[in-house]
Assembly symmetry: C2
Amino acid sequence: MKLTEAKQQFISSWGAFGTHWGINRTMAQIHALLLITPDPLTQDDIMDQLNISRGNTNMNIRELINWGLVERILLTGERKEYFSAEKDIWKVIRQIVKERKKRELEPMLKLLDQLEEVEGDKRDRNVKAFVDIVGGIKKLGRQADKTLDAMIRAEESWFIGNMIKLFK
Amino acid sequence: MKLTEAKQQFISSWGAFGTHWGINRTMAQIHALLLITPDPLTQDDIMDQLNISRGNTNMNIRELINWGLVERILLTGERKEYFSAEKDIWKVIRQIVKERKKRELEPMLKLLDQLEEVEGDKRDRNVKAFVDIVGGIKKLGRQADKTLDAMIRAEESWFIGNMIKLFK
DNA sequence: ATGAGTTTTCAATAAATTTTGAAAGTTCGA
DNA sequence: TCGAACTTTCAAAATTTATTGAAAACTCAT
C-alpha cells in the first residue's frame, strides 16, 4: 500500500471511529491528519487536504485545542498560525480520559448523589429498585473515577507493566 | 425529591449521557427506564411512559436485545411480550465493553495491521511519522484488548479489589 | 492610521439521524 | 381457517447536527 492511500484510509477510519464515540467526523479527521503529519500545518493545508471549508476547519481546530490535543504554533517571521498534534499516543489517551472524566463522569456522580436521596419507603419495591440501581452506578462510577485518576497520573511504562502483571 | 421526579431525571440524564457515547437518546432512555423498574414492561408501557411511537420503541428494544442488555420475557398465559433489563451494573458494564470491543477495537486493530505495512523508505520523515503513529496506536490497542478481555472474565469483587490495590 | 494577510463568527443550507404511524406480517386460540 | 392481538417494517416527516462561505474582526508591518 502506498503512503498516500494508507494516510487516506487512516484519516477516514479515524473519522468513522470518532462518530461511535460522540466525536464529530471532521474533528477526528483533522486530528488524524495532524497525528500522521510530522510538520505543523496551517488552516489552509488542512482545508486542502481534507476538502472542508474554512469555517468548519477553524471551529474544529479550536475544539481540538480545547481538548488539549492540538497546539497552536507560531513560527517566527511567519504571519500564519501552524497547528500540531501531540504524537505520544499514551499522552493523547490520558488527555482524552482526563477531559471526558471532567466533562461527563464527575457531573454524573454529582447527579447520582442527589437522586439517591429520593423520598419514600425503602420497602416499596419501586423505591428500592431505584435506589439500588442509582447506588450501584455510583459505586462503580466512584471506583472508575479513582482508577482513571491514577491512570492520568501514571507513566506509560508503569501503567502497562502493572496491567500486564495484573491481567496476564 | 419525589420518586416520580427522580425517575424522570434519571431517564433524561441517562439519555443525554448516551448521546455523548454514540448511543441514541431513545435507546438509552428505554434502558434507563427498564433499569429502574423492578417488573418487566410491555412495549405499550414503555411507549406510554416515554411518550414515543410504537416503531421507535420496537426498534430500540430490539437494539438493546442485540447488545445483550435487555431480555424478552414471556409470561405464561399472556399474549404480550415483556421486557426486562439486567440490573447488576457490573454485568451491564461488562456486556457493553464486550460488545464495543468486538464491534470497534478488534476491527480497528485489524486495519492498523494493514496500514503498518505501508511501502516506502523509513528514512522519509513522512513514512516514519505514519508508521510510528500507527505502531503506537496498535501497541496501546493490543494492551487494551488484553486488559478488557481480563476484565470481561473478571468477577466484580476481584476486579475492584485489584484496582484498589493497584491504584490506591 | 492604513490595509493586506489572517482568523473568527454565524445565519443559512445541507446532511445525517431519529421518529412517526400506518400497513404488512406474525402468532395463536377457538 | 379465521380473526383478534400483537410485533415488525419502512417510507416519509421531523429533528438534530454539521458544514458552508461571506462578512466582520483582528493583527501587525509600514
